[in-house]
């Protein structure tokens, strides 16, 4: 069992408020990812759950038990730190055993748990080495192993892959995902990398400035971002935002003018009072394509062309000077300075009002 509930959790360091009332219900066995730009409070939130910090107000429940005053060690959680935090003066085996010895577990049980974790993570060969003699990836495994042997109700992972090189990160990501499927234990994972969030999470919690912006499955966040921040944060390269205005509101949806050039009817309702209001029109770079000569579209000037082979990334500037990024499938013979016309489908547009909320 590993259900974790947060109610109105706030945290202040002196006069600085870091968390502004977090409400969250994490289901048992869920892989949940906290994602957000640095300084958004995601690590702070994790530390509140871990018990390494006490929330200023609000309640934390683990499996229905109020744990605000329960010390970290007794919450039944295990944590993997960004720097791995392996004890440098102990061998891998001692690192794994430390927590179990402190819990006064019988020796035989400790041995069997270490053996099991070593087998699962393939670290058996270097159980007697010190962390300093291991590579980054091996240290990462040991850090995860130290969490696994505790047999925790939930794993807390604080940017565990950020110290690895790109290749290793991808393989460790897959391993973590496999590990979660196998253990079926709740995992809370903190990252600033939205690709990690998208690939690992059952649900993603997007945080900004100590507040939850949106909670949802990766595709929910991608397809229906609740606001402009989430829309810009999830998806790579990030979404383009173009200025536009609402021309009319009808039964088929909302008719918007984009950059004053193209008018499209987006199948999405809006309040009648919003006609003529300025809005932001979001469109993902992958949804933009080159317009044919007689098709409607917006004109743009190419700044830079990056040909990646399977796709071509175009950095362009709209007639209003707003930057536009388009990812076109295949290869295109374009050069910088060239005038092009771009178009997109109405169904792929995301509309955000002036407050940044999704229409």
């Amino acid at each position: 069992m590993g259900r974790i509930t947060l109610e109105k959790v706030t945290k202040s360091f002196g006069a600085v408020k870091v968390l502004h009332g977090i409400d969250l219900d994490i289901r048992d066995g869920e892989f949940i990812v906290f994602v957000g730009p640095s300084g958004c409070g995601k690590s702070t939130l994790l530390r509140q759950i871990a018990g390494l910090d006490k929330p200023t107000s609000g309640d934390i429940h683990i499996d229905g038990k109020h744990v605000n005053d329960v010390p970290a060690a007794d919450r039944g959680l295990a944590m993997v730190f960004q720097s791995y935090a392996l004890y440098p003066h102990m061998s891998v085996r001692q690192n794994l055993a430390f927590g179990l010895e402190n819990a006064r577990m019988p020796k035989a049980e400790i041995e069997s748990r270490i053996a099991e974790a070593a087998r699962m993570l393939e670290i058996g060969e270097y159980l007697d080495r010190r962390p300093g003699q291991l590579s980054g990836g091996q240290r990462q495994r040991v850090a995860i192993g130290r969490a696994i042997v505790r047999n925790p109700t939930a794993f807390l992972l604080d940017e565990p892959l950020s110290n690895l090189d790109a290749e290793l990160r991808i393989s460790m990501r897959a391993e973590l995902s496999a590990l979660h499927k196998r253990l079926e234990t709740t995992m809370i994972y903190v990252t600033h990398d939205q690709i990690e969030a998208m690939t690992l999470a059952n649900r993603i919690v997007v945080l900004r400035k100590g507040q939850i912006e949106q909670v949802g499955t990766p595709l929910e966040l991608y397809n229906t971002p609740a606001n402009r921040f989430v829309a810009g944060f999830i998806g790579a390269p990030s979404m383009n935002f173009l200025s536009g205005s609402i021309a009319a509101i009808g039964r088929e949806g909302t008719t918007v003018t984009v950059l004053g050039e193209e008018t499209l009817t987006v199948p999405r309702p809006a309040d009648d009072g919003m006609v003529q209001q300025a809005i932001a029109v979001g469109v993902r770079p992958q949804h933009i394509r080159l317009a044919g000569p007689d098709q409607p579209g917006i004109s743009a000037k190419v700044d830079l062309v990056e040909g990646l082979g399977s796709e071509t990334v175009i950095h362009a500037r709209a007639s209003t000077g707003e930057p536009l990024l388009a990812v076109l499938a295949g290869q295109h013979a374009l050069s910088s300075g060239e005038d092009i016309r771009l178009t997109f489908d109405a169904k792929d547009l995301h509309l955000f009002d002036e407050a940044g909320l999704r229409l």
């Binding site: 871990a50 390494l52 970290a72 060690a73 295990a78 730190f81 720097s83 935090a85 004890y87």
Partner: protein
């Protein structure tokens, strides 16, 4: 020899002398003489006889006047190089001296007595190491008892110093509490209070506690050192907090975090402090002199003081025993200098 010379005269490149070559040379060689000279002088002088010690001008090496045995004389006679009136110079032994005139004889031909003005002769010196300076104190001076007292004081004081200073440093570096910096400043501020200022109050405290004439009276007042707290705190600040968080998640008590995580990781700084503490306590003189008045409790440094009487200072024994007491400290520096350098580098202390 030529390689040594080549090494000493090595220059910044080119044929000429750059001014930095000269500055470096003067600085390093001068430094060597200033730092090493007294130690060499001490060691060589510790082998001198009392007469050689009081000789003027002083010599570097321990010379004694050569003596010869001459038939018909019970004692060996000192040998002098004498310039005879005819201009030749011969080695003659002194038989007797009256005023400025010495009666001297040729050892091979003891019948003829030459009367020589003492200004016309020079003693024939020879190198002799007066090892009795070392052996005699071991026989008459209670060296082993003093050594034991010194070892006891040094070891106990160092152990207690390490224990309590590391605890203070752990609290000051790894816990957040109100007044943390103030406490640190107060602790470091006590560095500015010299022993002379607190000697009298400290003496009343120690004697009120009944520790007068007790080795613990020497040990306890010295164990809380601001230098040690500061040095260890600076080092412990470099231990990542995540390790301590990890230990907390691993159900470690605060004591276990201190004992099993922080102390082993602070080992290099502890080694430095241990070295410093050994040197300080071993070399302590004034405070043990005040507290200890029974000679069976003397430490080596205080024990040496018995050779400095009111009227007569037996320099030869003081010098020899000073050399002996220096040996442990030198060994500490020779074998542990790596740690000392690191400790100084990490804390900015000397």
């Amino acid at each position: 020899m030529s390689t040594v010379w080549q090494f000493i005269t090595r220059r910044r490149g080119g044929e000429g002398w750059h001014w930095t070559d000269i500055a470096t040379w003067v600085w390093l060689i001068g430094g060597l003489i200033v730092m090493f000279g007294p130690a060499v002088w001490l060691t060589l002088s510790s082998f001198k006889s009392p007469a050689a010690l009081s000789k003027f001008p002083p010599t570097i090496l321990p010379y004694v006047t050569q003596e010869v045995r001459v038939e018909g004389f019970d004692k060996a006679l000192p040998l002098y190089e004498v310039k005879l009136p005819d201009g030749t110079s011969v080695n003659l032994a002194e038989k007797r001296r009256i005023g400025v005139i010495a009666q001297m004889i040729d050892p091979k031909n003891p019948e003829t007595v030459h009367k020589i003005n003492i200004n016309d002769r020079k003693p024939v010196d020879m190198l002799e190491f007066a090892t009795s300076n070392y052996t005699e104190p071991f026989l008459q001076f209670d060296f082993l008892r003093y050594l034991w007292n010194s070892v006891f004081v040094t070891v106990m004081a160092t152990i207690i110093t390490l224990a309590i200073n590391s605890m203070a440093a752990f609290a000051l570096s790894k816990y957040k509490f109100r007044g943390q910096n103030l406490i640190l400043i107060i602790i470091v501020g006590t560095l500015m209070v010299p022993l002379g200022v607190i000697m009298v109050p400290l003496y009343s405290v120690v004697s009120a506690l009944g520790l007068f004439n007790n080795l613990w009276g020497v040990i306890l007042p010295t164990v809380a050192t601001p230098t040690g707290v500061f040095l260890l705190r600076q080092y412990m600040l470099t231990i990542p907090d995540e390790l301590i968080d990890a230990a907390r998640m691993d159900k470690a008590s605060e004591w276990q975090i201190y004992w099993r995580i922080v102390l082993p990781l602070a080992a290099p700084a502890l080694a430095v402090l241990a070295i410093f503490s050994v040197v300080w306590r071993w070399n302590d003189f004034l405070w043990p002199l005040i507290v200890l008045s029974r000679s069976s409790l003397y430490t080596l440094q205080v024990g040496l003081n018995v050779y400095a009487g009111q009227l007569n200072v037996q320099w030869q024994y003081i010098l020899a025993m000073t050399v002996v007491t220096m040996i442990p400290v030198i060994l500490v520096f020779v074998f542990l200098q790596k740690f000392i350098a690191r400790g100084i580098a990490t804390s900015g202390l000397k």
